[in-house]
């Protein structure tokens, strides 16, 4: 079927099998392999992209259902010579090793900080109405949908706290 995707500010017209997921449309049909396939079942977060600004699993989204949305992938967040603040902090804090979960972690973290700004609580928030400290526990819980087997977790949390500091978030919250 004919499908139009709005990706990173550009429009792509594709002829796809209806069974094609957004993830496979990106990887197999558009050659945009920054979004990774780790489990294909929403169990690892490697395929995290932003849909209308919200983080979702591209593996559990049919491409045909993503037609009206604005989709941002890791390629849309920055490039090697123009890294986003989070990408820069992941690099500086060694927030990855093999790098395979990394695009998903960075997309997820990008939206996660927005969720905190919007006042969304988390499972570990003491009070549902906040305030939400950017503590290790808060960030770790909110990032738990992104598995990392190299286990750069400790560095990822540090990177996110630092990046949040550069965009107005307090970095000294314990």
């Amino acid at each position: 079927m004919q499908i139009t995707l709005h990706l990173n500010g550009a429009t792509h017209d594709l002829d796809l099998d209806p069974r094609t997921t957004l993830l496979d449309a990106l990887r197999h049909h558009l050659g945009m392999t920054g979004t990774k396939k780790g489990c294909d079942h929403g169990q690892c977060g490697a395929c995290t992209v932003l849909m209308d600004g919200r983080r979702i699993n591209a593996c559990l989204t049919l491409a045909c259902m993503a037609q009206d949305a604005r989709i941002t992938t890791i390629e849309g967040l920055g490039s090697p010579d123009r890294l986003s603040p989070l990408q820069q902090q992941f690099l500086d804090h060694d927030g990855f090793q093999c790098g395979y979960c990394t695009p998903g972690q960075i997309c997820s973290a990008t939206a996660m900080l927005e969720e905190i700004e919007a006042g969304w609580p988390s499972h570990v928030s003491e009070n549902l109405d906040g305030p939400f400290e950017l503590s290790h526990a808060e960030i770790a819980e909110r990032m738990s949908g992104n598995l990392c087997r190299c286990a750069a977790y400790a560095n990822i949390v540090a990177a996110i706290r630092q990046a949040a500091g550069t965009t107005g978030w307090r970095e000294d919250a314990a």
Partner: protein, 322 residues
């Protein structure tokens, strides 16, 4: 994944009885990829006007398409039904909560690994085939309300809180109706493939919450890792106390049965009584009288007992959980 016809529904009237509804897709696509589910027609309802959280009487009407993350963060839910926020936040991941919907979450299917594996016999997937879980590896399986035909559990968190809140499911279809959540999910008996009362051609349009119950709200979920895991057991509790006695007790349990479990005898015992360890033990005793394990998962019997006691201690101020 089997081929299907994709349709985008423009109105509820478009839904045909042979169509399978897709909204968040978090569980349906998961199962379709494994061909555990193989619907020939997929109807995308995400463009229908089924969102929104609105007052209804003294309570609230939650549209079927309200995403889990929006519901958990909704100011009225946080203020008046915090057990629901807590249950939602204890489930899945930030990404999945952004996708999963209120209606879809009620339709979530079991995580029994034998149901997920087409090589294995499963009465739920293939009625009459037998149950390979019995005699196999059982960890996330049921201790209450199961049968020799099926020991699968309903795996979700949201519905457990909804059960404690006496929610009602609003259903549209040839004959629109409202079904208390307590009656929505079915125990397996000898028809484990029939999981809910929803008929072909029907659609969940909303979940309705009665007036806020007040009291202390708790959702305690015990799982195999700190996050992003299904419940071994969970307890949703709404407990009111007056003059040192329990005035209101609504308790629902997850991870232990094919539906969010609730036991009126437990609540009857608690109501009017002074909180004490002896009372809570007795409550657990009553709750677990009918419990039975078919294998390794019988550990859930002591685990649920302890989770209940801890939740009650916490909710009645005997001990803080933090």
């Amino acid at each position: 994944m089997r081929e299907f016809t994709y349709q985008r529904a423009a109105s509820i009237a478009d839904l045909s009885p042979d169509a399978t509804i897709i909204a968040g897709g978090t569980n349906l696509l998961d199962l379709m990829k494994l061909e555990v589910m193989a619907p020939p027609v997929l109807v995308d309802i995400t463009h229908l006007d089924l969102g929104g959280v609105e007052p209804e009487g003294e309570g609230l009407r939650i549209g079927a398409l309200v995403r889990n993350s929006d519901l958990a963060a909704h100011p009225v839910i946080r203020r008046d039904y915090p057990v629901l926020s807590r249950a939602l936040l204890a489930g899945a991941s930030g990404q999945l909560r952004n996708m999963a919907t209120t209606g879809g979450n009620l339709m979530q299917r079991t995580r029994c690994p034998y149901f997920y594996d087409r090589r294995m016999a499963c009465n739920k997937r293939d009625p009459g085939a037998g149950c390979a879980a019995i005699g196999g590896v059982t960890r996330n399986h049921a201790i209450l309300g199961a049968s020799d035909h099926c020991i699968a559990t309903y795996p979700g968190d949201m519905a457990v809180a909804l059960r404690a809140l006496d929610a009602v499911v609003e259903i549209d279809g040839p004959a629109p109706r409202k079904v208390p959540l307590s009656d929505f999910h079915l125990l397996p008996g000898n028809t484990p493939h029939v999981e809910t009362v929803l008929e072909p051609g029907e659609i969940i349009t909303a979940v309705i919450l009665p007036a806020p119950p007040g009291g202390q709200h708790r959702y305690r979920k015990v799982r195999d890792r700190a996050s992003y895991a299904f419940a071994l057991v969970s307890v949703a509790a709404v407990i009111g106390t007056e003059d040192g006695r329990i005035s209101h007790a609504a308790l629902a349990f997850g991870g232990v049965a094919a539906k969010p479990w609730r036991d009126p005898d437990v609540e009857a015992l608690l109501k009017g009584s002074e909180p004490s360890d002896a009372l809570f033990r007795e409550a657990a005793e009553i709750l677990l009288r009918p419990a039975r394990g078919w294998g390794e998962h019988q550990f859930k019997i002591p685990l649920l007992r302890r989770a209940l006691i801890a939740t009650l201690r916490d909710a009645t101020g005997m001990e803080t959980a933090a």
